[in-house]
């Protein structure tokens, strides 16, 4: 469950990124957040992974109230939320396998458990063959699937995908979206932000539209309308 209650973010330079945004996402939902550049999508995502704190308002994810979580527990919070970005954020000097394993290594998972978990997740995203390739040796779609594998390997309850198809061609974009749907069917909450009208309209899932820092539309089966 993700709950934002009248969340406002004002930057030191007086820019208002979010103003009184409220939204409620149920467990196992697939939600798309749309909005023009600068509408506040990225701020919203940075709030969810607690890279930023709201100026006012309340954020609760799962059973964790972001106001009361102490700094030392932020890494543990982030381990429960998988995040995927437009620019993949893979470590270039690690192979596909190592990039995925890395997420487990930083959490102190035993090596033997890592050896068991990583191949499974690589199979799920269809990258078993490319396990020992470096990011520079694979396509954009494969890079994004690696990033998704890395986000999923710790069995997060929530997967946040911030414009995951932004750098991909239509074919690869659809592969990624289908992968996200598959992950959602397995029971993970998926929060997707995108600019891709075709994808939003074809998904026929809940769409939240953000404009100028406010939630202006929230439809059960929404369409891209900006």
């Amino acid at each position: 469950m993700i709950l934002l209650d009248r969340v406002t973010v004002i930057y030191p330079n007086k820019t208002v990124a979010l103003s009184g945004a409220s939204l409620h996402i149920q467990p196992k939902e697939f939600v798309t957040i749309v909005g023009a550049s600068g509408a506040g999508k990225s701020t919203l995502i940075r709030l969810l992974i607690k890279e930023e704190d709201p100026t006012s308002g309340k954020i609760i994810v799962g059973s964790i109230d972001y106001d009361t979580i102490d700094k030392a527990n932020i890494p543990h919070l982030r381990r429960k939320i998988g995040v995927v970005f437009q620019d993949f954020k893979l470590l270039p000097n690690l192979t596909v396998y190592e990039n995925v394993a890395f997420a487990l290594e930083v959490s102190g998972v035993k090596s033997s458990d890592i050896k068991r978990a990583v191949p499974k997740i690589l199979q799920l995203v269809g990258l078993s063959e490319k396990a020992h390739h470096y990011p520079t040796e694979i396509s954009g779609g494969e890079k994004q699937r690696t990033a998704i594998a890395r986000a999923l390997v710790r069995n997060p309850k929530i997967l946040i995908a911030d414009e995951p198809t932004g750098n991909l061609d239509p074919k690869n974009s659809w592969d990624i979206i289908e992968l996200l749907l598959k992950i959602n069917r397995f029971g993970t909450t998926v929060v997707l932000t995108t600019h891709n009208k075709d994808i939003v309209n074809a998904l026929k899932k809940r769409v939240i539209t953000i404009s100028r820092g406010r939630v202006v539309k929230d439809e059960k089966v929404g369409k891209y309308s900006i």
């Binding site: 890494p75 381990r79 930083v106 710790r154």
Partner: protein, 304 residues
């Protein structure tokens, strides 16, 4: 434990990843450690020499050959009650001859000819003083005792050099060495800290993307910081290794010089018998300097 091992491995790998920066950091670390060791050695040397000289320059009372045993005993007891005197030791004519014999090659020759003419060496009382500055006053007091009549001469009377001046000179040198050593060590310590600080800062900068990703996938603060601390410590370990490797042949040359020219067996002995300890100290110091500057760089430039 797993995490510690992973952090250690990653820090170790990173040290080799930017070899050029590491080289500069290691070199300055080695120089700093050498300089600090050199001055520690010098300060210890000068101070041990000072102690030795102070012990040598205590007061010796030469006793007339005509003096009776009771008279000598009475004088010995009286001198011991004098304030500022710590011990009084009796050296007989025979002891004096034996000492001369054992002192050196020439001494033994002299002793031989001395014994042939019936041992002209006087018996003496060797007086050790608590504070060397009092030597003149104490000499005067002792000469004033009625029991002091059997004294023919004292080392203070016969000294043509200014003993106090000699000691003051040594103290001056000792202070100067300590001061110069302290300042130079501090300067190089600061340079080393700054260079390693900058090396780690560069490392943080070049790996900012990696750090961002680590944070995103939920690495704890120490998982991100640890490798940099390890990296700083590695410069300490490498620098100390170079310093120690330079120190072994260097110390041999210095030892030889000190033993032959300055007769400084005690200092040399101390250093060679505590070599392990000194090595450990150098490594310890290197690791502390490295880790500390790394820590400073992290707390300034690694916002977590």
């Amino acid at each position: 434990m797993i995490t510690f091992w992973r952090v250690f491995k990653s820090g170790f790998r990173n040290t080799f990843r930017h070899a050029w920066l590491s080289t500069a950091a290691t070199a300055i670390m080695a120089v700093t450690l050498l300089i600090m060791t050199f001055f520690a050695f010098s300060i210890y040397f000068v101070q041990s020499q000072l102690k030795e000289v102070q012990q040598k320059i205590d007061l010796t009372l030469f006793i007339s050959d005509d003096a009776k045993d009771e008279e000598i005993k009475a004088l010995q007891a009286k001198v011991l009650t004098t304030s500022g005197v710590t011990t009084v030791e009796f050296v007989s004519k025979l002891d004096a001859l034996k000492r001369l014999e054992n002192s050196s090659k020439e001494g033994s020759k002299l002793a031989k000819s001395a014994s042939e003419i019936g041992n002209p060496l006087p018996a003496s009382l060797e007086v050790k003083l608590a504070v060397i500055d009092d030597i003149g006053a104490i000499n005067k007091t002792i000469r004033g005792y009625p029991e002091g009549a059997i004294i023919t001469e004292t080392s203070y009377d016969s000294s043509d050099d200014n003993r106090k001046g000699v000691i003051e000179n040594i103290i001056r040198i000792s202070n100067a060495v300590t001061r110069v050593g302290g300042v130079l060590s501090a300067v190089f310590l600061i340079i080393a800290l700054l260079i390693i600080f900058n090396t780690v800062r560069m490392a943080i900068y070049t790996r900012r993307e990696e750090i961002e990703i680590m944070k995103l996938v939920g690495a704890t603060k120490w998982f991100v910081r640890g490798p940099f601390i390890i990296e700083g410590s590695m410069y300490g370990v490498f620098g100390a290794t170079i310093a120690v490797m330079a120190l072994v042949p260097l110390s041999r040359v210095i030892n030889q010089f000190l033993v032959e020219k300055l007769n400084a067996g005690a200092t040399v002995g101390y250093f060679s018998s505590n070599f392990m300890l000194i090595f450990l100290a150098i490594y310890g110091l290197g690791i502390i300097i490295g880790a500390l500057s790394s820590w400073l760089a992290i707390s300034r430039h690694l916002k977590l």
